[in-house]
Amino acid sequence: MDKEKFLQNVLEQFEETDASQIKMQTEFLNLDEWDSLIALSVIAMIDDEYGVKVTGDDIRNSKTIEDIFKIVESKV
């Protein structure tokens, strides 16, 4: 799985946040725009792009985008 592409796919779920602010190591909970709807958009993106089902616990147990990436990678 391509990390850069994954980050790009996550970035596309945000509307207001400056893309340069979001890196693989970013703790997404600290982003102002992060809310349950963005979380759902990320889940939907992962379903669409990678054919993987991530759960609420997967998201809650993740701190950074890298953490989500690893979960998706383990399920692909």
Partner: protein
């Protein structure tokens, strides 16, 4: 795979009843003005109907049934079977269907029973009653589907309270050798049982003092173990994968002409999720009616309620091909293809 084709049954009518009492999302005390706007924009829900303390799901279904039978001019004693689908029955026991048999003045020889399912309930109920009618031993059947699910929600839980509304519906079916039939796909996965559940009040965890104690989860979620708990992200993840799969299986297995289907009626979960499902299946917007804005998620009642509210005028003198799909609590889901040919469909009743 649970795929079945029932040849000799037709839907003759559908009706729905709603409580008069309206609640608006913008008035919900846990939402700021901005939060309420955001919530409505994403869920598609702006207002809901809430039953008062004394009105049950069976009361709503009773009124919907009376209206439907009157319009169909069906005699009460001609009803051979009645199924009541609900997760908010009048009592733990007896079955509410028995109470309805008496209230509707049906024959004591009618077969009546309850089914406990939510979001997928109309599909499962339709499958069950169609099977009862398919051999022709029974000629006429009533499928009553409704919930007062708002009574299970904590007023202090913004992840459930503003989503749900109450409604009762009735669907009349008849043995019909000239029918186009009904085709089903059905599925279940209990590994997701806690995604939508009420922890206490059954017999795994009987009602106790603890059942009435508030638990604070933070972020606008406070509820008791007797309240409905919703694990939104898991339900979402489930819905966007299983609902399209089910419809695809139905279409592929029975060789249904996708383009000939006039309407796809989804369980009204929320707009964001339903639109993901619609887009995955590449269905044009005008083939997917919504009633979320006015009624929210009314549990098992959403599909027949949407038929009555959005398609009533179209059904008067025409023939419609429909695919409906229900998905949620259980987890349980299913799809059905059927025809609506000049059915009786009175306007939504308010009580």
């Amino acid at each position: 795979m649970a795929l079945l084709n029932i040849q000799n049954v037709s839907i003759r009518g559908v009706s729905a009843a709603l409580p008069k009492n309206v609640e608006y999302v913008k008035d919900y005390h846990l939402f700021s003005e901005n939060e309420a706007k955001k919530f409505s924009a994403s869920t598609g829900i702006y207002e809901r109907r809430l039953a008062n303390k004394t009105t049950t799901a069976s009361d709503l279904c009773f009124d919907a049934t009376e209206k439907l039978l009157d319009n169909l001019k069906w005699g009460r004693k001609d009803i051979d079977c009645l199924i009541f689908v609900t997760q908010t029955p009048d009592y733990v026991l007896p079955s509410t269907s028995c109470i309805l048999q008496n209230r509707l003045n049906l024959s004591k020889e009618a077969v009546v029973f309850d089914i406990s399912l939510g979001c997928s309930g109309w599909i499962y109920g339709l499958m069950t009653i169609s099977n009862l009618l398919n051999t022709g031993t029974f000629k006429k059947g009533l499928l009553l589907v409704g919930d007062t699910i708002t009574k299970t929600c904590s007023f202090e839980d913004k992840s459930t309270y503003p989503l749900f509304g109450d409604a009762g519906t009735a669907t009349a079916l008849e043995f019909d050798e000239n029918s186009m039939g009904l085709k089903f796909h059905l599925s279940a996965d209990g590994s997701g049982a806690d995604a939508i559940h009420i922890p206490h009040g059954g017999y795994r965890y009987q009602t106790s003092k603890k059942s009435f104690q508030n638990e604070i989860f933070g972020n606008g979620i406070t509820r008791k173990p007797l309240n409905l708990a919703l694990e939104g992200m898991n339900v979402f993840s489930f819905g966007i994968s299983k609902a399209p799969q089910s419809i695809k299986k139905l279409i592929d297995h029975f060789g249904i002409n996708f383009d000939a289907v006039n309407y796809f009626i989804f369980h009204q979960a929320n707009f964001f999720m339903n639109e993901k499902i619609r887009k995955k299946l590449k269905i044009p917007e005008d083939k997917v009616p919504y009633t979320l804005s006015e009624y929210g998620n009314t549990s098992c009642a959403t599909i027949p309620l949407t038929i009555v509210d959005r398609l009533a005028k179209n059904t008067l003198n025409s023939k419609l091909e429909i695919i409906a799909c229900g998905f949620g609590v259980g987890l349980s889901w299913g799809s059905v293809w059927f025809n609506l040919d000049n059915i009786v469909c009175p306007e939504v009743i308010e009580i």
